[in-house]
Symmetry: C2
Subunit: 340 residues, 2 copies
């Protein structure tokens, strides 16, 4: 398989992207990589890594770069020769089977929608990612692509999440939870209630409503929500994890005794950190586009970026797009039969 990589995206560009690409090439002989971007800085980095003539690595020149703070509409109109656009074009033409970028999320989604369109039956793409939980991993979507969703959108997210959990995370019959709130009288808004109805009437393994606290408990394999709520949930988690980590450091640093205890605790704290290391969960899927597009965190290092490439490779290997397309057709015709 060929994976196109936007070598210019993110906070670091080639110095992170090139070593990440090389490490995936070294571990997976099925992968070929197209590095898309400005030849000069990419070439410099390849030389530095002594990989200027890797047999499964090509450079595809693209002179322009989409800025991290550029308006997506702007990027879409004016940056037809950007590394991001050329990478997506390579997927559209079939030259590559997936594209990975650490660039501007809004631009990536906007260009993806225009160039690749959506999978038939899917109205809107979503952003999906796996997160660590007490019981393993949970797939969550949407994490910010859609601020206003209706019940049918959430139902489509559930279908895509089910396929992705089954194929990529190897869960046999993934359970699906609808993110909601717990108060009795006010159980969710109309959209969530409508989506619950659609899910209950489908052949999906619908668990029911889950609350915010269920996400990290791993209550269900898939958690579905609109992009506003999902984005807040993800960023609240980021903020809280940062605070806890900072407070823990300060507590250890507050006395000589604490500093000694920290020193002795180092192996334990490392083990703890590794388990929850967000870099191990890098690589969100822009799911619903008619082509595999993976978004890496903008400030990913080479370890994290390689993880995003692995997500792309796994989705290609398991033919995610074709499987989603098939499942969408099955479930939508099932729906029509039940209402007929």
């Amino acid at each position: 398989m060929k994976i196109a990589i936007d070598a210019m995206g993110g906070d670091y560009g080639p110095p992170v992207v090139v070593p990440a690409a090389l490490s995936v090439l070294a571990e997976d002989p099925d992968v070929e990589i197209l590095l898309v971007g400005q030849e000069e800085p990419i070439g410099r980095e390849l030389s530095r890594c002594q990989a200027a003539s890797h047999p499964r690595l090509q450079v595809c020149h693209a002179p322009e770069v989409v800025a991290m703070d550029e308006a997506p509409s702007q990027a879409l109109r004016n940056k037809r020769h950007s590394s991001m656009r050329v990478g997506i074009d390579l997927v559209k033409s079939g030259t590559a089977q997936a594209v990975v970028s650490a660039g501007n999320t809004g631009a990536l989604m906007a260009i993806g929608k225009v160039v690749l369109r959506t999978i038939p039956g899917i109205a809107r793409p979503a952003i999906a990612t796996t997160i660590p939980t007490r019981r393993g991993k949970t797939l969550m979507l949407d994490l910010g692509a859609n601020v206003d969703c209706d019940a049918a959108h959430l139902f489509q997210f559930a279908i895509m999440g089910e396929v992705m959990s089954r194929l990529v995370l190897h869960v046999e019959r993934p359970s699906i939870g609808l993110l909601n709130i717990g108060e009795e009288e006010i159980k969710g808004n109309e959209v969530v209630k409508g989506a619950g109805q659609l899910l209950r009437n489908s052949s999906l393994n619908y668990y029911g409503n889950v609350e915010g606290s269920d996400i990290y408990r791993g209550t269900t394999d898939v958690v579905v929500c609109d992009g506003f709520v999902g984005n807040v949930a993800l960023k609240v988690s980021e903020g809280l994890a940062q605070m806890i980590s900072a407070e823990l450091k300060e507590a250890y640093a507050a006395s000589w005794y604490g500093r000694l205890a920290a020193l002795l605790s180092l192996p334990v704290l490392r083990r703890f950190r590794d388990r929850l290391d967000h870099r191990r969960y890098n690589g969100a899927t822009l799911i619903g586009l008619n082509g595999i597009v993976i978004k890496s965190h903008g400030n990913a290092d080479a370890f994290a970026f390689a993880q995003a490439i692995r997500v792309a490779a796994s989705e290609v290997k398991h033919q995610l797009i074709a499987n989603i397309a098939e499942e969408v057709q099955t479930l939508l015709s099932e729906q029509q039969e039940s209402t007929a």
Copy 2:
């Protein structure tokens, strides 16, 4: 001041409520307490604590109890002699200046709305609480009372949050953030955009949009959101904190070396835990009701419940209701002038 306490609410009832009440009475000579509920179990607990004849403590008999899982409409119609209802009635009649309950949130809000009504100018009450942040404390609302809000509701939440932060948390000119998502193209839904407009045109110290990660960073003194998003944010935090704490324990318990390191780290880990102890933040205000109603966590212990009573006492002392009523009138007339 007199504070009514629903002695039957929550997971434990009198065995938690009575010791909590006694500890607040001991530390604050201005507080008198009315324990509302079934005389028999309350009396038993008072005897056990050797406080049957405390000069600032009275028992007010109420035979019925609202169950934790009872439908609010049910509780409202059928439980006119419940400890919760009688406690709220005591505030309505002016006998008490505040009521504290660890009971069913939905029922507390429903009864509060019917008996006390809302402050003039406030369409809907919200649930507000303080949360620990890197820079101290932030006041957040709504945490679950309203799943569908319009821009005017969010604006009213901002007004109430501002007054509460100023009076109860002693922040001089509280900054107000509107919880939103970060993507450029899709900055929030229409409701949030509309609320931003109202806030920008007001004399409040409006900071602008904040993201989920800003909450724990303490970017603003007040964070405003609808009850769906707020509830998810709060419960996601609960779930993540539980997971981190469990993972940390497991990392320490995984080897004899880890267990030794844990033993040596105990004083440090205690200090860390105390700083973020959720019991210290117990006591959410049902803000916007025309009377002070404080909700304690259902599984609060005596330490946590006492904290909820202190929140009530502080709001009475600072005349929260009168001050909100005044500020609402000022800001609404300001709004009318600017549109006139």
